[in-house]
């Protein structure tokens, strides 16, 4: 077996048994990166020397009997997480030379558990996008391709496209990601891997470059549900440095994967049956529900009456917060600064921000500034907050009757790199199934469940109650087992 073909769980077992070392595992992944990253562009920064040094240190710790929960496991870190001493760009020119002097809480927790960082994963600029085409470091390519059209390069989804592509192409055993409107679940589904956005507050946001503070949440992507559970266990937990992080114990998520679904009630929101939805997606959803019934769950139709307003609500709330969060990129203290002789302060702002931000980020800053402006605030931002409260209440009502909700993860499989680029609204529709979980702060897991007619992966989504990731993992693992998803992307290490 090629070392990059291990699941994270499998690699942990092999390391424990001594059949492989962290150095060997890390080197195999670095070799894969050297071979495939020039094409996939999944990593913006590869820290090969640091990774090998960390792997050696890990092997020494293991030899000395000090074994962390992720001891020796090579991971990719989305380039939105600040990493001390390693450049952190957020996919933006405005941060292209920014080297943080501090480590994000989530990445520090992974390091504390013995993980090895291979490098920083590409992403849409400031995590804004659903195709990973807005990165200042260039687009990421999906390692999958259409069976009958292998030359059309596909997007990996976004914004965590680099993380998902790296894991799918076996360039990491797992990766950190973040999800503001679907940025973990949509790329996971497009790349045929698993990914969970946990409950808002489960993972600390400290040290993660902010997009929309009330929606952003970190989570893992990995090739199996169990691998996600193992990673999340290490990433999660209360952090006094994030006032919105939840002071709750972190359960053993991996154990919860094996709970099964017997007796669970699974909600099927009727509002998610969209007109014109691809028949393959409808069929996969039906299949998923049948698998759950076969495993002893009951499926129940539920109503989330305000779900149809989720996307417009999201595209008001998220840009509003982003317009404020991104105000700090002004060229004064760090990052890119552009001036001309004679520039005054205003000119410095305008030149720096015009040169530093790409078009999608500029669009969202403008939308956000507009919806918060005097005279428009009530009609847009305030109204959106009210609708958000109603969406949250829809879920509370639903969870009185069901234990989890299952929906498609995305309205389609991965699309071509040149498709949907001219129509922002068509692009925003990618998030239609995922944004509700962000608006309501609920955990959502994407599981690879099948292939479309072109041989591209499709995913199902499990949405749970707040802080009930355990049930989400149990349902997700049941779907994963039934789906027995064994298809592989064409581009992958060790192939």
């Amino acid at each position: 077996m090629h070392p990059t073909d291990f699941t994270l769980r499998g690699a942990l077992d092999a390391l424990t048994e001594g059949t492989i070392s962290s150095v060997e595992l890390t080197q195999a992944h670095l070799d894969g990166i050297a071979k495939l990253n020039p094409r996939l562009n999944a990593y913006v920064t590869v820290t090969a020397e640091k990774a090998l040094a960390a792997a050696r240190a890990s092997d020494e710790r293991r030899a000395a009997g000090q074994v962390g929960a992720l001891e020796g496991i090579p991971l990719a870190i989305k380039d939105l997480f600040c990493t001390a001493g390693t450049r952190t760009t957020a996919g933006s020119r405005i941060l292209d030379s920014f080297v943080p002097p501090y480590e994000s809480t989530v990445s520090q927790k992974l390091l504390d558990d013995g993980a090895v960082f291979l490098g920083k994963a590409n992403l849409d600029e400031f995590a804004m996008g659903s195709s990973n085409t807005t990165s200042a470091s260039g687009p990421v390519e999906n390692p999958w391709s259409r069976a009958n059209d292998p030359d059309t390069r596909l997007v990996p989804g976004g914004s965590s496209g680099g993380s998902a592509a790296a894991v799918a192409a076996r360039l990491a055993l797992g990766a950190t990601a973040t999800d503001t409107g679907g940025s973990i679940r949509q790329p996971a589904a497009f790349c045929g891997i698993a990914g969970i956005k946990p409950t808002y507050g489960r993972c600390s946001r400290f040290g993660i470059v902010a997009f929309a503070s009330s929606l952003d949440q970190a989570g893992p992507v990995a090739r199996t549900v169990e691998d996600c559970a193992i990673l999340l266990k290490s990433m999660a937990g209360f952090d006094p440095k994030d006032s919105t992080s939840a002071d709750l114990p972190v359960p053993d998520f991996a154990r919860a994967c094996e709970r099964g679904v017997k007796g669970l009630r699974i909600g099927v929101p009727k509002e998610y049956r969209l007109d014109g939805m691809a028949p393959e997606i409808v069929a996969l959803w039906e299949q998923g529900l049948q698998w759950l019934r076969d495993a002893g769950a009951e499926t129940v139709e539920i109503s989330l009456p305000h779900a149809k307003y989720a996307l417009p609500t999201y595209y008001i709330v998220a840009p509003a917060e982003a317009s404020s969060n991104l105000a700090r990129y002004d060229g004064v203290r760090f990052g890119t600064r552009v001036t001309e002789p004679g520039s005054d302060l205003r000119d410095l702002y305008e030149r720096t921000r015009a040169a530093g931000f790409g078009p999608e980020v500029r669009r969202r800053i403008m939308i956000g500034t507009y919806v918060l402006s005097a005279g428009y605030y009530d009609a847009y931002y305030l109204k959106a907050q009210k609708v958000r409260a109603l969406i949250r209440r829809d879920f509370e009502n639903a969870y009185a009757a069901v234990d989890a909700i299952v929906t498609p993860a995305t309205p389609s499989a991965a699309f071509g790199m040149n498709e949907k680029q001219d129509d922002p609204v068509a692009m925003y529709l990618n998030d239609i199934f995922t944004v509700t979980a962000n608006l309501a702060g609920l955990p959502g897991l994407a599981v690879p469940a099948g292939l479309d007619a072109q041989g591209l992966p499709l995913g199902l989504q499990v949405i749970g109650r707040a802080f009930d990731e355990e049930t989400v993992f149990a349902v997700g693992r049941t779907l994963e087992r039934a789906a027995d998803f064994t298809a592989l992307p064409r581009l992958r290490a060790g192939a």
Partner: protein, 483 residues
């Protein structure tokens, strides 16, 4: 008779409201652990949070919240158990996040009231609209370099309380008295040091004018006035400007102005048209601030005595309302006075503190916090007066010597032999000498020129180098002249 300014068209009334920005006394900043000490090296007290670095998040400092609650309680104001922070968005080089975290819609403290005392002894109640917590910006230095501006972020993130008054003041004096009163209360509470020259307290002054019986006319805001005297001057200057505008048949437009202290006029800073749109919205990085009522009650129970209560207590001790007012203006003065008065005659203590002691402070340009005579020594001097060791005039001599030498009064009396003579025999001997030397005047006195009594007392005291007990000297002179 209320205060008015006479214009060409007759008298105008003033309407004044103040927004006071008071820096909270706390070890650390409102949302970061960085220190807050005044006068440190530029950019030496800055955390990554204060500098607005990527991924940094605010965490509220409980002590700053406690200080705001104490202040609210001291202003007899409503403490809101649920409040919320908002972002106030604008770009400036010394505002690292591109927004200020403030409380816009739901402040921590609601309505309250304070009583001010004016020079004529009249008291007036001024309404408090609200108090909210917010973070300060950094400081831009434009005078350090020919083409560059420098930024000092030491102040960035320091906790401020903004205290907003109702438009209840009607004269420069009332505005000055209100600001003085707020500063006094904050200093008593220990929630703000009130040092306006260090910028830890500053005021935005809202002024409008009107004819008697009218509603409010358009107001202008004079920003960042940094002394009580300037507040009073700014009120008057701005009121006079507005009167001129109205009387010229023009209209006053709502705008932000600055007070030019050198020229004593206000200047336009920005008009309403180009006012910022601050795009306030709830701060998503901070959950709402929820206070336990038990916690608030505990803060209330531990509040120090406030100036109004202290003043009433002094009046009850027998002090005049004026002395009680003067002695309670500054907490340090009150503490000094109470040390002097402890176990002694309160009125005598008040006379000495407000009289000779204050005069000495003025003359020596010293402060009650750094007094030229300790309260203990001044108390000991009072003891020497009470036990008749010293007469009033001798006491003044000893006090001067205390100022010069810093020594205890007993020591000075001992060294210089300033002890008062209370031996009647000794006084009689001196009086006899004086009468013998002035036989002609004795005759005049006895023939009815009684005004000469003072002459004999004076001559006797002079001969005794001021050490004679004045009452005894009087008595002996009277008896001797009566012959």
């Amino acid at each position: 008779m209320s205060y008015t300014i006479e214009g060409r068209t007759g008298p105008w009334e003033l309407v004044i409201g103040l927004e006071i920005h008071a820096q909270v006394i706390s070890e650390a900043k409102l949302f970061s652990g960085a220190a807050t000490e005044f006068g440190a090296e530029p950019n030496s007290q800055v955390s990554f949070i204060d500098a607005g670095f990527p991924g940094m998040l605010p965490v509220i400092n409980a002590e700053c919240v406690a200080q705001a609650v104490r202040t609210g309680l001291g202003l007899n104001a409503q403490v809101n158990l649920w409040s919320r922070f908002d972002r106030k968005n604008y770009f400036y080089a010394d505002l690292p996040q591109g927004f200020q975290i403030s409380q816009f819609a739901h402040p921590i403290i609601g309505e309250g009231a304070v009583e001010i005392t004016l020079a004529d002894g009249v008291t007036k109640t001024i309404g408090i609209t609200r108090l909210h917590l917010e973070q300060d910006a950094g400081k831009s230095l434009h005078d350090q370099h020919a083409t560059k501006s420098f930024i000092d972020l030491n102040r960035s993130g320091v906790a401020l309380m903004e205290i907003v008054s109702e438009p209840d003041m009607r004269s420069p004096e009332e505005a000055g008295a209100y600001l003085t009163k707020i500063r006094q209360i904050l200093r008593y509470l220990g929630t703000c040091d009130g040092n306006m020259d260090e910028g830890s307290m500053r005021a935005d002054v809202n002024v409008s004018v009107r004819k008697a019986g009218e509603g409010f006319r358009t107001r202008c805001e004079v920003k960042n006035v940094n002394s009580i005297r300037f507040v009073m001057q700014a009120v008057e200057a701005e009121a006079r400007r507005q009167i001129e505008v109205w009387e010229a048949g023009d209209e006053v437009f709502q705008e932000t102005r600055l007070f030019d202290t050198a020229r004593g006029i206000t200047r336009s800073m920005r008009s309403k048209e180009d006012a910022h749109d601050y795009r306030y919205f709830p701060e998503p990085d901070l959950p709402p601030l929820v206070l336990e009522s038990d916690w608030v009650e505990a803060l209330k129970a531990a509040l120090p005595e406030l100036p109004d209560v202290r003043r009433a207590r002094y009046v009850a001790m027998g002090l005049s309302p004026y002395d009680a007012h003067v002695l309670t203006l500054e907490k340090e003065t009150a503490v000094f006075f109470e040390t002097v008065a402890k176990g002694r005659d309160a009125k005598l203590a008040a006379n000495w503190v407000t009289g000779d002691f204050f005069a000495a402070l003025n003359r020596l340009k010293r402060d009650v916090a750094d007094p030229p005579v300790t309260a203990e020594n001044l108390g000991a001097l009072l003891d020497l007066i009470s036990d008749k060791t010293l007469s009033g005039s001798l006491a003044k001599q000893v006090f001067e010597a205390m100022l010069e030498t810093g020594k205890a009064p007993g020591e000075i009396v001992e060294e210089r032999g300033l002890k008062q003579v209370t031996d009647t025999g000794a006084i009689e001997a001196v009086v006899a000498q004086v009468m013998a030397a002035n036989a002609d005047k004795v005759a005049e006195y006895r023939s009815g020129k009684e005004k000469l009594f003072g002459f004999f007392v004076g001559q006797t005291m002079k001969a005794m180098q001021g050490k004679g007990n004045p009452a005894l000297v009087n008595e002996v002179v009277k008896t001797a002249l009566a012959g």
